[in-house]
Assembly symmetry: C2
Homo-oligomer: 234 residues x 2
DNA sequence: GTAAACAGGAAACGCCGTGTACTTCGGATA
DNA sequence: TATCCGAAGTACACGGCGTTTCCTGTTTAC
C-alpha cells in the first residue's frame, strides 16, 4: 500500500523472514487447527531457535493477531469478488453470492474460519488492532451495503433508532455506508447471524452428522432470506 | 437412572472423587475458558498428583468428553423447562421460549457454550459417546417437535425427501418424532442455524462491539422466525 | 487368608511460551 | 577505512503442560 521502499538489505531480509513465519504458521494452522500453532514448531521448521521468532513478533498472541488479520483479509477478498461477479442491478443475487462465498470460503478454510470467528487459541484475547479491524470493516460494511440495496433505504432515518448501536461502530459504519437507516443496520446484523449460524454449525462438525448436503440446506436458507428482504430480483 | 447400587466403599469413593474432578474442571472452565482445563491444575486443587486423575479418566480428552456431556445435559434441561413453561396450545410461543432459553443459557454459561458448540480444546475430537449423544438427541429431537408443531406435519411424507439425511440420524430422529416430514426436519435444522448464528456471534464477542442490545436483536429474530413458520399464535 | 484389582505417589520425557545473557554481523557514521 | 550501535540469533533456564513407567499400600473378591 504505502510506497516506502525497504532498500536496505536488513529490511528486506526482515520482511522475508516475517513472511516465512506467517506462511509456516498458516500452514500449521490449516493442518492441525489454530491451537496447533506454536512458536517452537515454526522455529523448528525454519531451522532456528524458538527465541528468534521474538525478533519479529513480541509474543505469540501478536503472531496470532497477524494471522487473524491476514485470514480475515483473504475472506473479505473472497466475499467482495463473489459479490462483484453479479451485476449491481440484482441486489438479491449479490447478497446470495456474498452469503454463498462466505460458506464456501469457510468450507475451504475451516481452520481459518475457526481462527477468525471462534476462539480456538487457549489464552488469546483479540486486541481490536488495525489489520483485523480493517478486514472486519470491509466485511461488515459490505454486508450493510448489500442489505441496504435489497431492503431499500427504509423510512426511518430519525436519530432515535440508532440508540442501540455503540457510538464507535456507528461512526465507522455510517462513514462507510452513508445513507444507512437503523432498520437496515439491524437487519444486516440479523442477516449476518443467519449466515453465520449454519456455517458455524457445519464447520464445527454439528451439521454433517445430521444432514448429508449442507450446501443445499444453506442454499435454501439463502433463498428464503433473500425473499424475506423483499428486494427486486433481477 | 439405572438402579445398580454401588454398595462397596471403593465404589462410593470412586464416584465422589469423579464428581470432585468434574466439578473442579467445570469451575476452571467457567473461570478461564475450556482451554484452561488442565489435569495438573485439577490435581493441584485436589491436593493430589496429576497421575491420580488417570485412575478416573484415561486421558484428558475423556475428561473433556464427560464435561461436554454434563454441560450439554444442563443445556437440554434449561431448554426443556423453558419450553414446558408455555402451554402446548401455543406452539410458536414454545418455540420462542426454547430459542430464548438457548441464548440465555449461553449468555449465562459462555464457556459452556464454547465447550459444547465450539472446539476450544486444541486436539479434541468428539467420539459420539453416549452421554453427549443423549443430550444432543434431547436437544435436536425437542427442536424438531417444536418446529413440527409450528409448521404443521407438512404434505410430503414420501420417502424420497429423506434422501439428504444420513441413515443413522434418520433412525434416531424418526424414532423420537414419529410423524416427521422431511420438510420439517430440514426446516428444523435451518431454525437451529438461525438461533445458533446470533448466539455464537454474541458469545464469541463479535456482536457486542456492533450492537448494544443483543437480546433485543435476538428477540426480533425469534419473532420473525416464528412468524415465518406460519403456525398459530396463542 | 491370600491374590488380584485398584488408588495414588515419585520421577521422568518431551512438548510449550517466555526471560536472560551473550555472540555475530549489517550498516551508518567519524 | 575504522568504528560503533543495534538488530538477529544462539544457548540455556524456568515453570507449566499431558502422559508414561515403576513402585507402594489398601481394598475387594474368592
Amino acid at each position: 500500500m504505502s510506497t516506502d521502499q525497504p532498500v536496505s538489505r536488513r529490511e528486506r531480509l526482515r520482511v522475508e523472514t516475517t513472511r516465512e513465519i506467517t506462511t509456516i504458521a498458516l500452514r500449521q494452522m490449516a493442518a492441525d487447527g489454530p491451537g496447533a500453532i506454536s512458536l517452537r514448531g515454526i522455529a523448528r521448521e525454519m531451522g532456528m531457535t524458538a527465541r528468534a521468532i521474538y525478533s519479529y513478533f513480541a509474543t505469540r498472541d501478536d503472531l496470532i493477531t497477524a494471522l487473524i488479520g491476514e485470514t480475515a483479509a483473504s475472506l473479505a477478498d473472497s466475499l467482495e469478488s463473489a459479490r462483484d461477479a453479479v451485476p449491481g442491478a440484482d441486489p438479491r443475487g449479490r447478497l446470495i453470492a456474498w452469503g454463498t462465498a462466505l460458506r464456501e470460503w469457510a468450507v475451504a478454510n475451516p481452520e481459518g474460519f475457526r481462527l477468525v470467528y471462534g476462539d480456538s487459541i487457549p489464552g488469546y484475547q483479540a486486541p481490536g488492532g488495525s489489520p483485523v479491524e480493517r478486514a472486519a470493516r470491509r466485511i461488515c460494511g459490505g454486508l450493510n451495503r448489500l442489505v441496504a440495496a435489497c431492503a431499500g433505504a427504509g423510512a426511518g432515518h430519525e436519530e432515535a433508532g440508532w440508540a442501540a448501536f455503540p457510538a464507535e461502530y456507528l461512526a465507522k459504519i455510517r462513514d462507510e455506508v452513508p445513507d444507512l437507516s437503523p432498520r437496515v443496520a439491524e437487519l444486516a446484523l440479523r442477516v449476518w447471524g443467519r449466515m453465520h449460524g449454519l456455517v458455524a454449525l457445519e464447520i464445527h462438525g454439528h451439521l454433517r452428522p445430521v444432514h448429508g448436503d449442507p450446501a443445499a440446506l444453506y442454499r435454501a436458507e439463502m433463498t428464503e432470506l433473500a425473499e424475506s428482504l423483499g428486494g427486486r430480483a433481477s
